[in-house]
């Protein structure tokens, strides 16, 4: 399992695991309260630079809050929002996609039309509109992102199901008297897991970036919860004077998305039947 073929999977997985640990154990890892303001120490550069202070490893922000602690706590929101969105959007999207593909006709018409409406709007625009309507908050954010992401799963699963339902084992199951619900959940959906896992990992990366974008636009979570996106937004006006305010949250987003994409790539390599045959 440690062959070079799985390198992407291992590196990506390791980065994600590290982030999960970071998020879960944030109170233990973060050296300070991410909210504690020390106005006298505002805009201190990272420790290793000339004006850096021992106490602040990555420096302080415009209100004198510890950058490292804020980034550690910020991972919580990114991961929580990313994971929750992917799970909920996956459940909704897969179920609707499977129903549409399996039953066809009217059910397919309705689901397809709804998903086409959602597809007609740019993804971020839907999220902005929903956030503006619902207001700030973590729950609302997950809701907005889920509503704008479920279509992806729905389309892919519907396509897969369309070809699956013509396969002999499905016909066999039906011939043995299996009910529709049993066929869908026992035979159809398990066979779409491979592709859904791949979309889900890539989707999570996109969701994390969208969360950052929404927070950057001031539509994300309330101002007192540190997130990478809102840190970028607040640091933007200080980019000449205190570049570390934007560099570190930017790096955090970059590394996370990079790790998740590697993981997704690795998973695809494993699931892809063409690549599997080459082994």
């Amino acid at each position: 399992m440690l062959s070079i073929r799985y390198l992407k999977l291992w590196v990506g997985g390791a980065i994600l695991a590290l982030l999960v640990v970071c998020g879960v154990a944030a109170p233990l890892i973060a050296p300070r309260d991410p909210q504690a303001q020390t106005l006298e120490d505002r805009l201190r550069p990272p420790r290793w630079t000339d004006n850096g202070m021992q106490a602040y490893f990555l420096g302080t922000d415009n209100l004198g809050r510890d950058m490292l602690s804020r980034i550690v706590y910020g991972s919580r929101i990114s991961l929580m929002v990313g994971a929750a969105t992917v799970i909920f959007a996956g459940i909704v999207g897969c179920t609707l996609g499977a129903i549409a593909g399996y039953f066809g006709s009217t059910a397919d018409e309705i689901v397809s039309k709804i998903s086409e409406i959602f597809l007609a709007f740019p993804f971020l625009l839907i999220a902005i509109a929903i956030m503006a309507f619902l207001g700030q908050g973590v729950g609302n954010l997950i809701m907005a992102l889920m509503l704008s992401r479920w279509v992806q799963y729905c389309r892919v699963v519907r396509g897969e199901v369309l070809s699956l339902k013509e396969r002999d084992f499905i016909t066999a199951a039906k011939a043995l008297g299996a009910k529709d619900a049993y066929v869908i959940f026992r035979h159809v959906i398990p066979n779409t897991v491979a592709s859904v896992t791949v979309i889900a990992t890539f989707g999570m990366a996109i969701v994390i970036i969208t969360e950052a974008s929404l927070s950057f636009l001031g539509l994300g979570v309330p101002v007192h919860i540190p997130t990478w996106g809102s840190m970028l937004a607040e640091g933007r006006s200080y980019i000449n004077r205190a570049p570390w305010l934007t560099i570190f949250p930017g790096l955090a987003i970059f590394i996370t998305v990079f790790g998740i994409n590697l993981l997704g790539d690795g998973l695809r390599d494993i699931f892809d039947p063409k690549l599997r045959r080459q082994r």
Binding site: E40, R42, L63, G218, P222, V223, H224, E234
Partner: protein, 512 residues
């Protein structure tokens, strides 16, 4: 066969592209080399004019732009805290009448003489809301404009109105003769009496003026003025640093230190007229309790906010209004920062374990508002409050659902162009004027109404100071600070700094 001397298509395209690029970029480099030339000044401004209709706005910087061409009867001088005559020479307040004697020998740009008929004509245009004017409310209690002779104008008001001069400030005079001749097209070619003549207006907000050599107040030093509307701070700054602009407004305070090191640029700053404060709504608990309001006042450290968030470029208020406002009293003192005292007062008020409050603001409306409110929240937590910060879209925040419907219990707000304490007291603390605080106190109402009827400015100031004292004693709000107006100016350009956000090119000079 190809003739050797013929120009190939590719060559032709190449050369014409080079020429076109040269033609497009040439003037840019020329301007660069020649910043603040003797004849012309280029001003990049965040708000120039939203339409060519000179009465279709009510915004201080835009008044300043139009004042190059059209002039008011009187003008408020922030430095002197008094009104000075522009097209009017003198004025008198008698009962429900305001009589103005006009300046003689003033000519419009079309050669016509300025008389009282032009004043009556202009006021009529300003009151024409259907015609696009946004300045009509200033004359809502004027019942008649009389012109007994060419150089006298009398405004008759429904009630005696001592603050009428404030309403007449920034009301500019157009030529009746031009109006009669041009009819509907009056606003396509503005004719006034000002130091500059109107040349052109471009949609999007660029104005070009050229000098009026026959100006009654003496010829301006600079021949041509270009106002260019650039709303993005960074773009204005870049234009100034590259020499494209000679003058910009609203330099962000965190760029000041860097800009000061620039070889060709100077930073001019002065105390602005927008006062920031935290307002309580008395319809909501716990703000109906004086002890809680005092506790809140003790818990907020305005000086620390100015020092740390605005890099010290700001002026904490020492009373209910800034020091540059008519009605300010040097004897007023703000509540000192004392979180312990705040906790004591809260305990006395029945909140020994702290008090839950919500602080509303509209992120992005005012400079660094997010940061300010986060600091205020942290400070108030130390003073025993538990603060929830809520940011709303401006429209929601400001309209009937928010501040102006009396729906927000506690909010961060700025009041612009504040030259007279009356404006603030009337708007926020007088019964029924607005719902912004839902405050009602018959004694304070009496003081506010009394000063509005008092013609003698000294007496008025005394009454305003008395009202201010009661506002501070009752802790009706938390005054914070005035910020600075910060301008970036080419080093060879001289001008008179003004607190009213107006930029006047006729006060500018170019050093050799």
């Amino acid at each position: 066969m190809k003739k050797p001397s013929a120009v190939t298509r590719r060559q032709f395209l190449k050369e014409s592209a080079t020429l076109a690029a040269g033609a497009a970029l040439g003037p840019y480099f020329l301007r660069n080399a020649d910043a603040a030339s003797r004849d012309r000044v280029t001003i990049f401004h965040s708000s120039v004019a939203d339409s060519i209709h000179p009465y279709n706005h009510s915004s201080s910087p835009i008044y300043g732009n139009w004042q190059h061409v059209i002039e008011p009867l009187i003008e408020y001088d922030v430095g002197r805290k008094d009104y000075i005559g522009v097209l009017a020479e003198s004025w008198q307040f008698q009962g429900n009448k305001w009589a103005f004697k006009l300046r003689k020998g003033v000519k419009f740009h079309n050669g016509a003489t300025f008389t009282s008929k032009d004043v009556a004509f202009s006021i009529e245009k300003m009151r024409d809301e259907k015609g696009g004017s946004l300045q009509a409310p200033n004359f809502k209690d004027v019942s008649e404009v009389q012109t007994p002779d060419d150089y006298t104008v009398v405004f008759v008001t429904k009630q005696p109105n001592a603050v009428f001069l404030d309403r007449l400030d920034n009301r500019f005079m157009l030529s009746k003769e031009a109006g009669d001749k041009l009819g509907d097209k009056l606003f396509e070619n503005i004719v006034g009496t000002g130091p500059y003549k109107f040349v052109s207006y471009q949609r999007g907000g660029n104005l070009v003026f050229t000098r009026n050599d026959d100006y009654w107040g003496g010829k301006a030093a600079i021949k041509e003025v270009i106002f260019k509307k650039v709303t993005e701070d960074a773009a204005r700054l870049a234009a100034l640093e590259s020499g494209q602009a000679d003058f910009i407004n609203n330099v962000p305070d965190h760029e000041v230190a860097r800009l000061k090191k620039h070889p060709r640029v100077r930073v001019d700053q002065l105390e602005g007229l927008r006062m920031f404060f935290l307002a309580f709504n008395f319809a909501f608990k716990p703000w109906d309790n004086k002890l809680v309001r005092q506790a809140a006042n003790y818990s907020v450290d305005a000086a620390a906010i100015v020092r740390n968030i605005f890099d010290g470029i700001g002026y904490p208020c020492n009373g209910p209004v800034g020091a540059n406002v008519l009605g300010a009293d040097p004897k007023h003192k703000r509540y000192p920062y004392d979180p312990q005292k705040s906790k004591q007062l809260l305990a006395q008020a029945g909140y020994p374990n702290g008090c839950d409050i919500q602080l509303y603001y509209s992120a992005g409306r005012y400079p660094k508002d997010r940061e300010v409110c986060q600091v205020v929240a942290a400070q108030m937590v130390k003073g025993g409050f538990r603060v929830e910060l809520i940011s709303q879209e401006w429209a929601l925040f400001w309209d009937k659902q928010g501040v102006n419907g009396g729906r927000l219990p506690f909010y961060y707000i700025g009041r612009g162009s504040l030259t007279d304490a009356d404006t603030l007291y009337d708007q926020y603390f007088r019964t029924g004027t607005t719902k912004r605080t839902n405050y009602s106190n018959a004694e304070l109402d009496k003081l506010v109404e009394e000063q509005q009827r008092t013609p003698d400015n000294k007496k008025r100031v005394q009454i305003l100071q008395q009202a201010g004292k009661s506002i501070m004693d009752e802790a009706l709000f938390i005054p914070l600070y005035n910020l600075a107006d910060i301008y970036g100016v080419a080093k060879n350009l001289e001008w008179k700094k003004r607190a009213d956000e107006k930029v006047k090119a006729w006060d500018m000079k170019i050093k050799a």
